[in-house]
């Protein structure tokens, strides 16, 4: 069956599909799970306090697998001051609403890991390169 033999409505739909294909194929490739590289970098900067991919090893909230609506509500509460915080209002106010929504999507889809630990401490050995 050739393109021209299709009825007009089907042809139009296909053209729209093709248009979307072109738009999508020209966007930067999205990584696994539909997360843009931009959000990957932003979310990973939370790791200093909240662990790799939101799996905190202790002392702060685990963000991996957090309900997206809960995440957004907390961040908005930090922004407005409705929820008091020591440092989180600084980050919540520095982000856009779009970024907060995207971060909520990202963390909601991360697998929760129960066995993450900080690396074990070691006895300092003097080796070459010590200054």
């Amino acid at each position: 069956m050739s393109f021209n033999s299709l009825n007009q409505k089907t042809r139009k739909c296909l053209l729209v599909f093709a248009g979307f294909f072109m738009i999508f194929s020209h966007l930067p490739a999205l990584a696994e799970g539909g997360v843009s590289p931009h959000i990957k970098v932003l979310s990973a900067s939370c790791a200093a306090c909240h662990g790799t991919e939101g799996n905190s090893v202790g002392g702060t909230s685990v963000l991996a697998g957090l309900d997206r609506a809960h995440f957004v509500a907390q961040m908005v509460a930090f922004r407005t001051g409705e929820r008091s915080s020591t440092v989180m209002h600084r980050h919540a106010n520095g982000l856009t609403i779009q970024e907060i929504n995207d971060l909520a999507d990202y963390f909601a889809t991360q697998a929760r890991q129960v066995n993450t630990l900080p690396p074990p401490a070691q006895k300092l050995v003097k080796s070459h390169g010590d200054e």
């Binding site: 590289p37 900067s45 306090c49 002392g59 520095g94 401490a121 006895k123 080796s127």
Partner: protein, 420 residues
């Protein structure tokens, strides 16, 4: 039949649903070879995230002569006595085995950017992209009497954590009650802007509890406290009154190592323990490769990729990067991830993220338990082509034990992120 708006929306929704799934999950695997020079906060993070974000497609080799990672963050607490250096010392085994990172215990002596090759003491490595993360180097030409390892044993800098930190702690322990601890702060930029003031607090905390007749004299080459000024000023005056003696505009011009005597433009002081933090610049390799093109000290980079403005295909991250960003550990890891993200894109023939955003949180301990923060979101400014702080950033209202516990959690999580 003309397609109306509703039909258009329906077909649009359908096309998104149909095409977004396969297109999103079937990104072509990226391949290539990246060499990372340096296994500190910046280098180790870049290596890990390159492996993670390329799904193992990019081969990563780290060149690092040290067998252990010793954290500079929290190392001032070794001076205060609430941490041991062994609490801050880690191996690289988990990082290497979890992410399949190749490791070479050697030093890079030269970069051949044209041939895309680095020369090691033994052998050489070729690369598609090179990441240079050499940390800082001390400008001993300004204080030549401190250039020798022997002099640094008597007058430690303790600004690279490890044996130097232990040395300074032992000298503090051996100091008599009533003794004088003199420390100096170089003109900015230097590694960890609030670090010297945190150190003054940690030394004062130890002295207050153990040798209360002693003093800490802080000789600051800067005209005022360079970070968390209001907070440190208050802590010096309220928690450590009579112990911390802060003197701005005090540049060290001479040091007599044997008598531990230090001279500024205005005065000469004899110390029982002398801690000179020398002026700093980009790590040695960044200089010898000619990449330190800002004031002959720091490396100018493209903030979308961290590619050097001097050498093509060579990226610089961490404390060696020009002063447009504060030199903190969290910042080093954020730069590392922007760089890793850009390299994954570039090796896959994609454009890097045109507008990176990341956060920086930096805690300072003013006692064994109390800490305070400075925190900001940074956003790429496409007109200025630099990262600029977003609205909403700032510092703590006051130091607190709650923030002290968050600072400990910060350390545990960043160590886990960087080293496992």
């Amino acid at each position: 039949m003309a397609m109306n708006r509703r039909d258009f929306l329906k077909s649009t929704a359908a096309s998104v649903a149909l095409f977004s799934i396969p297109l999103v999950s079937k990104a072509a695997p990226v391949h290539g070879r990246v060499v990372v020079i340096g296994g500190g906060y910046a280098g180790a993070t870049a290596a890990k995230y390159l492996r993670m974000w390329s799904q193992g497609g990019i081969q990563v080799t780290v060149v690092e002569p040290r067998s252990q990672f010793v954290s500079c963050p929290l190392s001032n607490l070794v001076l205060g006595g609430s941490k041991r250096i062994d609490d801050l010392t880690f191996g690289y085994d988990m990082l290497k085995s979890h992410h399949g990172i190749e490791w070479v215990d050697d030093e890079v002596v030269a970069i051949d950017a044209e041939a895309k090759r680095v020369q090691l003491i033994e052998g050489e490595l070729s690369y598609d992209r090179l990441i240079v993360a050499p940390g800082i180097d001390f400008m001993y030409e300004q204080l030549p009497m401190l250039a020798s390892p022997e002099a640094q044993l008597v007058v430690p800098h303790a600004w690279k954590a490890g044996a130097q930190t232990l040395n300074l702690r032992r000298r503090l322990e051996a100091m008599p009650n009533g003794g004088v601890f003199v420390m100096s702060i170089p003109k900015g930029p230097y590694r960890c802007p609030p670090g010297p003031y945190e150190r003054a607090c940690q030394v004062a905390f130890y002295l207050k509890n153990n040798k209360p007749r002693s003093k800490v004299i802080v000789l600051d080459a800067n005209p005022e406290i360079t970070s968390k000024k209001g907070l440190f000023t208050k802590v010096f005056a309220e928690n450590y009154a009579g112990i911390i003696d802060y003197r701005p505009n005090s540049t060290v011009v001479d040091v007599d190592v044997s008598t531990k005597t230090v001279k500024t433009e205005f005065e000469t002081l004899k110390a029982d323990v002398l801690n000179i933090i020398p002026p700093q610049r980009a790590g040695k390799l960044a200089q010898s490769a000619g990449m330190a093109n800002v004031d002959k000290r720091w490396c100018e980079v493209d903030f979308l990729t961290y590619e050097s403005k001097v050498l093509p295909n060579v990226h610089v991250i961490g404390d060696s990067v020009s002063a447009a960003l504060p030199k903190s550990a969290h910042m080093a890891t954020s730069q590392a991830r922007v760089c890793a993200n850009a390299i994954v894109a570039l090796l896959g023939s994609q454009a890097p993220d045109p507008a990176p955003v990341f956060a920086n949180t930096c805690y300072s301990f003013v006692s064994d338990k109390m800490a305070m923060h400075v925190a900001n979101v940074y956003r790429y400014d496409s007109a200025k082509k630099v990262m600029v702080p977003a609205e909403g950033g700032g510092v703590s209202d006051k130091p607190s034990e709650l923030e002290g516990s968050y600072a400990q959690a910060w350390a545990k999580n960043i160590w886990s992120d960087v080293l496992t």
